[in-house]
């Protein structure tokens, strides 16, 4: 294991603890020997090359994938707000934004309105989901995930379809949500630059967890460098030159 691995919030009971997961799909080992925990208030980002099993890991954690080995322990009152990578709604299914937000639980009209306003899509309340732009669709997914006040938010490439400013706003919003709800956040992302800033812990995945820990430690880890090369100096620069946004301070202040 990498030297950068460190214990996170040891005193808080983890929301999910996955032990020695193994997932095979069509004979291919997608995940091997995954040990993973996520604790309340913690933002964990999963990075890794395409096809490294990032989405599979999230889907295994929500219980959507049969495990070939290992087990997953979930906290008893776990409420997951899940934002999938993409969602195809069959064109024969008429679904307004408001109706989508009322799945699977119905919420009070005032709560729906508030969630839509916060997401900036209040004017699209009665629009069909199919008519939304990529960014609006993503915000609707996020608004739905937050309505039930989750204690674990899971975001799979949730910033895709957003431009650079949108992406930066998005991750700021994730931190705000974490601070407001005290929820754990697991996200999968390609945006190494921004991700490095927003995370308390980075998990570098390539079928197995090759290294994990504080973003600054992971980014100098040889395993990480082997996967992503050294062309993310820029990411490190952003990270190092922005002490005000140092995410780790946040966690320590809380714990």
């Amino acid at each position: 294991m990498a030297p950068s691995q460190r214990m996170m919030s040891a005193h808080a009971q983890p929301l999910i603890r996955a032990t020695d997961l193994r997932v095979r799909i069509g004979g291919n080992a997608v995940l091997e020997h995954i040990n993973f925990t996520i604790s309340p208030g913690e933002i964990v980002t999963v990075v890794g090359p395409n096809g490294s099993g990032k989405s599979t890991l999230l889907r295994a954690l929500i219980g959507a994938i049969e495990l070939n080995a290992g087990h997953i322990q979930r906290q008893s009152d776990l409420r997951i707000g899940y934002v999938p990578q993409r969602l195809h709604i069959d064109p024969t299914l008429p679904l307004t934004v408001r109706r989508f937000l009322n799945l699977p639980k119905r919420h009070r009209e005032a709560d729906i309105q508030q969630a839509l306003e916060r997401a900036g899509i209040a004017s699209h309340r009665d629009a069909p989901m199919a008519g939304l732009s990529g960014g609006q669709f993503q915000r609707a997914l996020m608004a739905r995930a937050l309505l039930d006040r989750p204690n674990l938010l899971m975001l799979d490439e949730a910033s895709q379809g957003l431009d650079q400013t949108g992406t930066a706003d998005f991750y700021r919003q994730v931190e705000e949500i974490r601070n407001a709800l005290g929820c754990g956040v697991v996200m999968v992302s390609h945006d190494l630059h921004v991700v490095m800033r927003a995370a308390d812990r980075v998990v570098c995945l390539n079928h197995t967890i090759c290294c994990q820990g504080h973003p600054e430690d992971v980014s100098v880890d040889p395993e990480y460098r082997a996967l992503f090369g050294t062309d993310d100096e820029e990411a490190l620069a952003i990270f190092r030159h922005d002490p005000h946004n140092h995410p780790h301070d946040d966690t320590e202040a809380q714990s």
Binding site: R59, I62, G63, A64, I80, G81, Y82, P84, L87, I89, D90, T92, L93, P94, L95, T96, R99, F100, L103, P104, K105, R106, D126, P128, M154
Partner: protein
Amino acid sequence: MMLDDFMVRAALAGLGVVLAAAPLGCFVVWRRMAFFGAATAHAAVLGVALSLALTISVFAGVLAVALLMAIVVNLLTDRGYAMDTLLGVLAHAALAFGLVAVSFITDVRIDLMAYLFGDILAVGRHDLAIIWGGAGLVLLLMLWRWQALLTATVSEDLAYAEGFDPRREGLILTIALAIIIAVAIKVVGVLLITALLIIPAAAARPFSTTPERMAGGAAAVGIISVITGLLGSWHLDTPTGATIVCSATLLFIFLNVASIVKRSSEAR
């Protein structure tokens, strides 16, 4: 008087089936289960043969075979053959074996046409009780699981994340489908059952903005189809089940054309 007793019974039988078929048919459309529905319905012929051979009620025999068929399909998918190939094999195998099995039953002269195309005008009080019992059960299942079914239809992963198993919801739909087929065989017959599921739902789609409105619209289209179909077959002396499906199809065409006209006039 036109509304003789058998016409009232026929109307009530048809209404029971289309009311339950409306929400279920929407899911068949949304989840692209049309062929699955047709295949399960074809298997009903085997159920008819078995129930005649074993002298049990046709309803029970058809329900059992339809359920068995649905479960076998569920078990065999993702095991090497595509769903539609598998359905093609099982549906026609069940139909063919059913037809052969029926020919062995020599002591009872049965009117196979009545099972293939339905015999709604011959619905008795006992049939009505079974139809409304089954339809009521399907409606209750739909009401009970509505939100969960919708979530699982939108995305299986969302359903998992919310803590329920989409496979279980799929199984509930399968059971509801088997019940509808078993009760509708008397009304429209095995060959036209899927039409009553799909056509009203598809007809309601253009003017629906929410899933609930589509289910309500499908029920309305179904009710109008049953009534106009019965009246039409009375006046034109045509097969009743087929006339009901023709009515539904005309409504489907009318509503879709109306929607296109409305949209193009709005765009102008």
